[in-house]
Symmetry: C2
Subunit: 408 residues, 2 copies
């Protein structure tokens, strides 16, 4: 058993990518929001399937309109009307036009639409007062998506727009991966459930509940396993059961040296457990433990409430999304730029993640660190995101542009 396997963030990230995504199954399109595609999706046909008008007006042959002007309109024969949702029963020959509404199917021979505003119809003839270019006011077949093209790669996140595309292509069921089940264990003789009035020296469980929410936010399914007293055997039993019933287990709460040892020992006793890290070169988050047991993961999170949630966002959330088959670009928090609102010191030698607030002023978007103890959950309540200061940097000057990772 290695007791001090202190690792850096990017190393742990590599280890996370070695887990296998959960197995896939078919899901109704209407239930798929926020899930990740388990397979590439190809367009089974052109979208749209035919040339459509994007304006109300007249379907024409564009070259018939060349030279048309307000005072010298081109005059075309109106040979009919295209009914919405019907294929035209005629073709358009030189000198001819047909009434068409937005969304209507262009007749054979037509390649553009003149907006009704630039026309005047009278006794079967229409004056065209402005020329159109070929394909003007027309969506061509396959202009949105072309038959056979790979339109979404596996791991793409299903957004409302993608739901629309899939419906438009007749795809009403898709292949996605399962949602990871996550067991949450709190440890610590000082921790009592929120329903309890704490006796002196005791404090209610915060971590189980903030982690419960964070797991839901990552589209995974949390389950609470309650509070385990500081006893190695008791922790091992609960851990074994939680690991059996879940894809990932989070242990949090006890942060004293003694309890941390229990956590490490209990994890190490799991058959086949491989300790990937015991100690993280990240501030805050030093006491983080990650173990791999088959394709399941056990995290020992820092007991400090703000640190536990921060490490969740830095490491647990990426793994939960990876297990759902998400592309790498989705694993980490969204990154934006903002100006440091003040000088921000940082101790070199360790990657530093500061909780920060964002504030718009007339001079731009500013970021302010929330310097508050990691044991205070209020610091996470106020945080809009994290500011990362690399290990070889001593801090940031007021007014410098910095990268901020936004909380979900």
């Amino acid at each position: 058993m290695e007791f001090f396997k202190v690792r850096k963030m990017f190393e742990i990230f590599d280890e996370i990518l070695k887990f296998s995504p959960l197995s896939s199954f078919r899901l109704s399109l209407l239930e798929s929001l926020g899930r990740f595609l388990a397979e590439d999706v190809r367009a089974p046909e052109d979208l749209p399937p035919f040339a459509r008008a994007t304006m109300d007006g007249y379907a024409v042959r564009a070259r018939d309109t060349f030279g048309a002007r307000e005072n010298e309109p081109v005059i075309l024969n109106v040979i009919g009307e295209i009914f919405m949702g019907k294929a035209p029963t005629f073709s358009l020959h030189p000198g001819e036009a047909a009434r068409i509404a937005t969304g209507g199917m262009l007749p054979k021979g037509a390649d553009a639409v003149v907006m009704v505003e630039y026309t005047e119809e009278n006794e079967g003839l229409v004056e065209i007062k402005k020329p159109v270019a070929p394909y003007e006011n027309v969506i061509q077949p396959g202009e949105d998506f072309r038959e056979g093209a790979k339109i979404f790669p596996a791991g793409e996140k299903i957004t409302p727009a993608i739901m629309g595309v899939l419906a438009g292509l007749g795809i009403t069921e898709i292949s996605v991966r399962g949602q990871p089940r996550v067991g949450i264990i709190s440890t610590g003789d000082e921790i009592v459930p929120p329903q309890t009035i704490p006796a002196p020296g005791k404090i209610r469980d915060i971590n189980s509940y903030s982690l419960f929410g964070a797991v839901q936010e990552a589209f995974a399914i949390p389950k609470l396993y309650g509070i385990v007293p500081d006893l190695e055997e008791k922790l091992f039993q609960t851990l074994e059961r939680a690991l059996k019933e879940n894809d990932l287990v989070l242990i949090s709460g006890g942060s004293s040296v003694g309890v941390r040892d229990f956590t490490l020992k209990a994890i190490s006793k799991l058959p086949g457990a491989e300790i990937i890290c015991h100690g993280l070169a990240v501030k805050p988050g030093k006491p983080t433990i990650l173990a791999k047991v088959g394709n399941k993961a056990v995290f020992g999170l820092p007991g400090q409430v703000a640190s536990a949630l921060l490490i969740f966002y830095l490491l647990v959330r990426p793994l939960l999304l990876h297990l759902q088959g998400a592309q790498k670009k989705y694993l980490f928090l969204k990154k934006i730029l903002a100006k440091a609102g003040r000088n921000i010191p940082s101790t070199p030698g360790r990657e530093d993640f500061l909780r920060v607030r964002l504030e718009f002023s007339s001079e731009g978007l500013f970021v302010y660190p929330i310097f508050r103890k990691s044991g205070l959950i209020s610091s996470m309540v106020e945080a809009d995101g994290f500011l990362r200061i690399p290990e070889n940097v001593e801090g940031v000057y007021a007014g410098e542009w910095v990268e901020v990772y936004l909380l979900p």
Copy 2:
């Protein structure tokens, strides 16, 4: 019936705030993620309830350690150990110290903790090699949240961190407002359900499905009412039923002038309907209709697939969040800053919302417009957000900092 009530975005926004939020009810904390508090929350007690150590070490009276050095340590009497989760059975007098672990309760008389790294214990005495200031390595009672303080205002969004705080304060049930039910109607003789193979001239329903996802994303509950042919009476019947069963109805699909007229007429026929806007001075989104019927809303969305989704994000989503009791700051999309990656023209006289992509390069975060027809849903698939160009601005130069609204 007013046929042309063209309004500006900010005017519509004011109208949205006039709707009453839905009624409130009690919900279990574990189900509350993403909901909005219906009432102010006050701390019923201090969090934490007592002074806690944030480090493993020795509880001391800070002034006893003043002047301590590596080579000239202060020596204190170790009078006992504080057990985790227990109130100390003793008080600390001058010259005394007690072993304490992270999270332990400070004994009376102690006001700081010396980290174990700066101590050495031997036969009941401990050498303190570094002074501590009062309150160092200690979280004071109420330092996170103070008894009686208003800690969250009504309308605050429940995040994982807030779930943790509420649990920590013993609050396991909270008051939230209902999730709006949203009926979605598609219109248009050319539209068929996604399960159908479209005959020539027909096209599958995209809007119902992208809107379904967007409604879910806004924590509301969508219900599809299918596709209604271009008949005023048929639309009225479906609309009447949908409005009865929901808090808000979205009509989309038909975008030709004729169909738009049907939509307006059907809406106007609803008893008590007040047309708030018919036409929006926003590009794209001109044909938007909003009506208020009692405290319910009916939107006639543009038929163009990308425009319908954009207007959803600009107007419908804010109303859905407002009905859930969200504070004003949550109603609109999150705003960030990015540099224009190229010159971006815009027609003055109308507020312009461009779909945009964001791209990080070594020189910062750049934003690129997606110039593609509003009838193409692919433009929304690729979009990271919207760029707003006010009506009196002619465009943006490459390299200028601009405000970008991020899609959820």
